[in-house]
């Protein structure tokens, strides 16, 4: 017999709900009866309702309709549920599944990377070099101390920012192809602020002043102002396509691509005609005020020479990863963005303004892309330099893709791509046949495997769903 927890009436085992108030009946007193019955397959003769009843397990076991991958704790598929109703989860169980799912998330991109390395290894072998030697060069050189690691992390910094930028937009269901334009605009604006508020005079070789500063702020004010300028400029450049999509429904992919051209050309114009040191043959602005320079990490880490440009922007990048994680998963704003990305109809139903989320996500995305300027302008070149970006905005798409749009994944993927960037130089120099194009090949194949594998997973998932 089963009993109702609210009204304390007792009912037959075949019932699941109390017939009086609909509460779930508590476990049967007679445990032996509650086990699932495998004899349910038998075709039942008609006219004998009693055995019919007994042949069925009293509990409709829904377990078989749940992908066992999700239901890990329930044991191997096919094994019947131990008892009914299911026992309360043990304390360790939840964190276990969380760790498991983390590894599952990690496993797939790792496989893609591994497969890409194997595929490229074959090509290297066919060209006539040793794949092992090549990979030893590629990876070994990127992790040597201090130069390898220093440059790898320096190269990773902009990729972390752009990877995060793409990931945030993607979580809202938007594809930000415009990180490149956003970071160019941000870099120029940062340079402009660093010049105008950093007390820099731009003079002709003859000594005539062609541009004079507005103020000469101290470092403690100027650095934060420059950082904010980078973020705001990026946010505005990213927010424009967001606004266009929210207001007119024009597609963000087209608009961000177009704004890349507009942005790069615009800042190129300002550099060429207004902020270049006259007579300078290179397309770059004057140097920003010295006090706007942010220190390299070499000044603080023993053994890391100061000449390596790895700077505080890297710390900022790690901080950005943490903040983006908190924002997306721990705040109501992040919830709204993710809900909009996961299912806009449902988000709308939940009282979330989709338009607002689109503008917000694109602005944040642009702001993150803009933070590349902190690394490049404040930390490295100390000026806006035309063409400084090694396609950071576009590689950021790959970084986000490989990193599964998660800050931790983005961080790891950015490091990987930085390793390739750094190691490629050495492969180029020290192998007989292989050129640094191998890096592009590796990147391409990784993305190919991630994308192809992704659709494979989706197909599998659909098949499971159809069942």
């Amino acid at each position: 017999m089963k009993s109702c927890p609210t009204c304390h009436r007792t009912f037959e085992d075949t019932l699941t709900y109390c017939l009086v108030d609909g509460a779930v009946l508590s476990a049967p007193f007679d445990q032996a009866k509650s086990g699932p019955d495998s004899s349910a397959t038998a075709v039942l003769p008609k006219g004998e309702p009693e055995p019919t009843l007994k042949a069925f397990s009293p509990e409709p076991p829904p377990i078989s309709t749940i992908p066992a991958a999700i239901n890990q704790a329930a044991g191997p598929p096919g094994e019947p549920p131990k008892s009914s109703p299911p026992p309360p989860p043990e304390p360790g169980q939840q964190s276990d599944t969380r760790i498991m799912s983390f590894f599952r998330e990690l496993l797939f991109p790792l496989l893609a990377v591994l497969a890409a390395f194997i595929a490229c290894g074959v090509v290297v072998f066919l060209i006539g070099d040793s794949p092992f030697q090549t990979y030893k060069l590629l990876i070994g050189s990127a992790f040597s101390w201090p130069d390898g690691i220093g440059y790898t992390l320096f190269n990773a910094t902009p990729l972390i920012f752009t990877g995060l930028a793409v990931a945030v937009a993607f979580r809202c269901g938007l594809l930000n192809i415009g990180a490149e334009g956003q970071l160019y605009v941000a870099a120029f604006v940062t340079g402009w602020v660093g010049i105008k508020l950093g007390g820099v005079f731009i003079k002709t070789p003859a000594g005539d002043i062609v541009s004079s500063p507005i103020a000469n702020l101290p470092a403690i004010v100027l650095i934060p102002v420059c950082c904010v300028a980078a973020i705001v400029a990026g946010a505005i450049w990213g927010g424009i396509p967001g606004l266009l999509k929210a207001k007119f429904g024009s597609h963000e992919v087209i608009n961000t691509i177009m704004l890349n051209f507009v942005g790069v050309a615009l800042v190129g114009y300002f550099t060429q005609y207004h902020f270049k040191v006259p007579g300078d043959a290179i397309m770059q602005t004057a140097e920003i005020g010295r006090q706007a320079n942010i220190p390299t990490l070499g000044r603080f880490i023993p053994g890391l020479p100061e000449r390596i440009p790895l700077n505080f922007a890297f710390i900022l990048a790690i901080l950005a990863c943490v903040l983006v994680y908190i924002f997306l998963w721990k705040t109501k704003w992040g919830y709204e963005i993710r809900a909009t990305g996961a299912n806009p109809s449902a988000a709308e139903y939940g009282g979330i303004s989709i338009r607002k989320q689109i503008i917000l996500a694109m602005s944040i995305s642009g702001g993150l892309a803009g933070m590349v300027a902190i690394n490049e302008v404040l930390g490295y070149r100390h000026r806006y330099y035309d063409g400084f970006s090694a396609n950071y905005g576009f590689v950021g798409i790959a970084v986000a893709l490989l990193g599964r749009n998660h800050p931790a994944g983005v961080f790891l993927a950015a490091i990987l791509f930085a390793v390739l960037l750094r190691g490629g130089i050495f492969v180029d120099a020290y192998t007989v046949h292989v050129s640094k194009d191998i890096v592009d090949m590796l990147q391409g194949i990784v993305i190919l495997f991630v994308a192809a594998g992704g659709s494979m997973v989706v197909k599998r998932f659909r098949a499971v769903k159809k069942a």
Partner: protein
């Protein structure tokens, strides 16, 4: 005629069919019943070659045959009509019917021969459709005939029909059954997949009951009854009736005056409708799908842009027509949407994240300064309560909503909306695609909510559901309310006639 022998099919880790054996004698109507996910559609899709079985064999007229694609199935004279019609709406009936089996030479399409043959077929089986008509101008019932003709045109001897009556009005169902009997009498074999027991009892000769991917019983229809079948499907005793005391209706909660809602093309989907829902009563809205019910509910929930709505909606004396969905929810208007996958759930989000959808910005979902941070403890508390109160299985708040069966997803949504707590509940298709056990549970919860004094506006395509649950029943046709009836004093036939605009 056709026999499935020991069919097993696995999708990933899900065992959809476990040793399924079904034998359908020639010249009979054979019903396959079972709850959602019982594997009945999978078995029939294997028979039609959409899927291939992992093991087991298919026999036609006693001979083992290989069916790997629908092409093979058609070659073996098997035809299938899907729940969702596979018709090209802008094309004519004839064009649709010959699609994939076009007569004439490679270059020229000989539609005239085809039309003649279609006419001959429709005369033979009394399936009157004009071959030259465009499909989109046809009613749902006529479209179904086109689907049947399509199968017959391909010389099908065995017809598999997947939930054929889901979209039909009661009258259309009657006509449809007449057609099926006639086809059987002319020697066709028909397999009908359904979960409506009354129809099984009316139309079929034999019934196979499936549950959890297995065949749990095969009986002659004349030897069984609804209660027995339901028990076999669910595996326990099921209450088929809704037991409810009379409504104690109070003050009007929702009062709609002259409400007009226009679709994107500017046509009025809801046309000058006025009605009232009072506290403590369930008002049903019966109608054939697509007659404005969706727009009505979404309009009341605040999900249709204000520029498309005119008239007045007053909730507890306040005009809410200008308020957005969030504001309306704050006032106590809960909404169980008709499409739980499109509207109701974030399928890849956890149960906990789904439970706070719509209330995610206020306590207990948030905490800290400015109520910005999500309060995981508070969210889990609320989720566990919904899971407990609404018997959501498996009871694990970290699972993605996708992992739940339809019935459990629906219970989660209903539980979330009940937690609001609502003063007015807008509920659309509360038991669509939900198994019998959960239907029983949801119905009881709705009645309990009514008895606590909540006003309920119910839309359902299941006529039996609206008549059983409603205290008053409004019939909607073509965007207008064509009448109000007492569900206890009116027959389904009369309501069905009103639904199609027949009479009042």
């Amino acid at each position: 005629m056709i026999e499935l022998r020991n069919i097993t099919k696995r999708f990933g880790d899900v065992l959809a069919n476990a040793g399924v054996s079904i034998k359908v004698p020639a010249g009979t109507i054979h019903a396959i019943v079972g709850e959602n996910g019982a594997g009945k559609s999978t078995a029939m899709r294997i028979a039609y070659g959409f899927y291939t079985a992992d093991s087991g064999e298919i026999l036609i007229n006693g001979q083992v045959v290989e069916i790997r694609t629908p092409h093979d199935a058609i070659a073996h004279s098997i035809g299938m009509v899907h729940q969702h019609f596979m018709l090209l709406e802008p094309m004519t009936v004839a064009e649709n019917i010959v699609l994939g089996a076009e007569p004439g030479s490679a270059a020229a399409l000989d539609l005239k021969t085809a039309s003649d043959e279609i006419r001959k077929l429709s005369n033979e089986f009394k399936l009157s459709v004009d071959p030259g008509a465009t499909v989109e101008t046809l009613s749902v019932g006529q479209q179904q005939r086109v689907e049947l003709l399509k199968a017959l045109y391909r010389r099908a001897q065995l017809l598999i029909l997947d939930e054929p009556t889901a979209v039909l009005t009661p009258q259309e169902v009657e006509e449809f059954f007449v057609i099926l009997r006639r086809m059987r009498d002319q020697g066709k074999t028909i397999v009908i997949i359904t979960h409506k027991l009354s129809e099984v009892l009316t139309i079929s000769d034999n019934v196979t009951v499936m549950r959890d991917g297995r065949v749990v019983g095969e009986v002659k229809t004349s030897d069984t009854n609804a209660a027995d079948l339901a028990r076999m499907m669910v595996g326990r005793e099921v209450l088929l009736r809704v037991e409810k005391p009379d409504a104690q209706a109070g003050e009007p909660v929702l009062s709609v005056r002259n409400l007009t809602i226009r679709g994107r093309e500017g046509t009025a989907r809801v046309d000058g409708v006025s009605f009232e829902v009072r506290a403590g009563e369930i008002v049903g809205l019966a109608g054939v799908e697509g007659n404005g019910q969706t727009e009505m509910i979404e309009g009341l929930a605040g999900l249709i842009p204000g520029s498309h709505i005119s008239g007045s909606i007053s909730f507890l004396g306040r005009d809410i027509i200008k308020m957005d969905a969030r504001r309306r929810k704050e006032l106590g208007i809960a909404h169980v949407p008709e499409d739980r996958h499109r509207r109701g759930l974030l399928l890849d989000f956890s149960l906990a994240e789904n439970t706070i959808l719509g209330v995610h910005y206020r306590k207990p979902a948030v905490m800290g300064p400015g109520l910005v941070l999500l309060d995981e403890k508070g969210i889990k508390g609320r989720t566990d309560q919904v899971i407990r109160d609404f018997d959501v299985r498996p009871p694990n708040s970290t699972l993605p909503a996708r992992a739940l069966s339809g019935g459990n997803q629906q219970k989660l949504i209903i539980g979330r909306e009940f937690e609001l707590p609502p003063k007015l509940l807008l509920v659309s298709q509360p038991t669509r695609g939900v198994d019998i056990g959960a239907i029983e549970f949801i119905h009881r919860k709705l009645v309990a909510l009514r008895d606590q004094g909540c006003a309920v506006l119910l839309v359902s395509a299941e006529l039996e559901e609206v008549t059983a649950l409603s205290d008053r029943l409004l019939v909607i046709h073509n965007g207008s309310i064509v009448g109000e009836v007492d569900p206890k004093a009116t027959t389904n036939e009369d309501i069905g006639l009103m639904m199609t605009g027949g009479h009042k």
